[in-house]
Symmetry: C2
Subunit: 323 residues, 2 copies
Amino acid sequence: MNRASSSEFELIARYLSRPAAPERSDVVVGNGDDCAVLMPSPGHQLAISVDTSVVDVHFPQDAPPAAIGHRALAVALSDLAAMGAKARWCCMALTLPAADAEWLAAFAEGFRELADRSGCELIGGDVTRGPLTIGVTVHGELPAGTALRRSGAREGDLIAVTGYPGRAAAGLERWQRGEQDSDHPLLEAYLRPEPRLAAGEALRGLASSAIDVSDGLLADLGHVLAASGVGARIDVEALPLATPLRAILELDDVRERVLNGGDDYELLVTLSAADLAEAQRRLAPLHLPLTPIGRVVAGEGIEGVAPRYLAHRGWDHFPEIVS
Amino acid sequence: MNRASSSEFELIARYLSRPAAPERSDVVVGNGDDCAVLMPSPGHQLAISVDTSVVDVHFPQDAPPAAIGHRALAVALSDLAAMGAKARWCCMALTLPAADAEWLAAFAEGFRELADRSGCELIGGDVTRGPLTIGVTVHGELPAGTALRRSGAREGDLIAVTGYPGRAAAGLERWQRGEQDSDHPLLEAYLRPEPRLAAGEALRGLASSAIDVSDGLLADLGHVLAASGVGARIDVEALPLATPLRAILELDDVRERVLNGGDDYELLVTLSAADLAEAQRRLAPLHLPLTPIGRVVAGEGIEGVAPRYLAHRGWDHFPEIVS
């Protein structure tokens, strides 16, 4: 039983704690007491998710610290986006091997920048010593009864995806090959995924189901199909193809990345064909395309995907109680 | 970058996930979606705290797994108790070196038993591979404006403590000496601390400040004094002395453990002398004594504690953003 002296960890508290933003009247008690105390919005439900990012499991040890901070929060916020919830508060449980002031400042800046931009106030956390691990619990709110569930896909619905998935997988491949130009658009997609919070909120009331693409488009579609008791037919020719992917890969290899690459954190939704135009209209101000890529069908499983597109399945994540 | 195959972790999800209890109408979406969705109580505020328990830092690696599960949740719930909040929901971020079915079953049982008894529904979490670490985020509720703060102690208030602190510290000493009879009352106090949730709720509206004793009575009193801008005079002769401590230690050594031992998770409160009898009456059904041990005074620091009682200061915990 040994506990490090507090002195070497004090700088962490300094980097991560600060008074709540004065305009946040929902933060009744911020840092410095036994708990944070928060005022929920009347008529709203809470959406909560926890995500742990472990060095060398979820991100490379030598990734830029600002990207590690950004990404640890982004993957958690993405779960709020997939429910259609508005981000409100987050807690961080940080485990660190040592306290390196420069690393921490950059890490905190990456986390903070995304938190501030997302309206997600850091309201608590703790710091312990050990291998680099970042546990983030995010809290969002949504009007009661409007959560986007995985279980709502219905036969005949369109299947649609936001943005251009597959870029993060190709970016990680670059990193692993040693091409670590971290502002390359593909690497950027892996290191600094953008949680689709505004898109999730915009699709409330239109999408019949939603999930964020973390394991891979096909793998995550599988979760929706299982929860909804339906199958799907995918139109491979309709997949959105990112320009930087088409620039470096053959068409079949691009499609394989789109279908199997995880870590982009785009939203995969189902919706009635009659609602597609309205959904696209709502996402237009976000400059985020919503591309129909198939249909929900009766039965189970996924049709229309040739075996050559299944070469690399998405990572088999650890199971999550709430993923 | 390597991720373990999911198969070996499936049993964890089995142990930790289960449908929400049917009587919990506040759990709108439980396991199996991107987020848990919860219905807060109208007119209430949320209290949130996160605590990470790391093997060999916060508990011995060879502690009984049921005790590790209990303790990881208890230390987090204790923060809710110290705010006067009612426990509602918790999330667990579990990092495990390997999946041992027997260990996990006992761990989950220890966690579950306390969660069920506290009305704290496990609504989410994730599992990753690494050194044994248990991150718990707890969510409680309290009527708006009633939180027990650290900053409310006023000159003239009594200082009082629940139960018999010091037992856990002596229990840990036993464990470290190899006397690992885990149902010994002192060891029980260390391995299975009881969060004082009912006491915290009962003291709402009476206590002027509250904190849970995790670092040690004097250390935690110091946090209250600093937050309130006051000092304290302690009456060492008034300290509550646990029978099993008096049975094995000289009087001065007992007092030293009471004043400096952490990990009992008793509540330390301040309150008007006129309210003491009512506070004790409210705790009587809990069979929990509330012992006045000093007074809040003007100034700063703690008077009345002779140097011989300061031999072992409480552990110097890592600083916590919200502890």
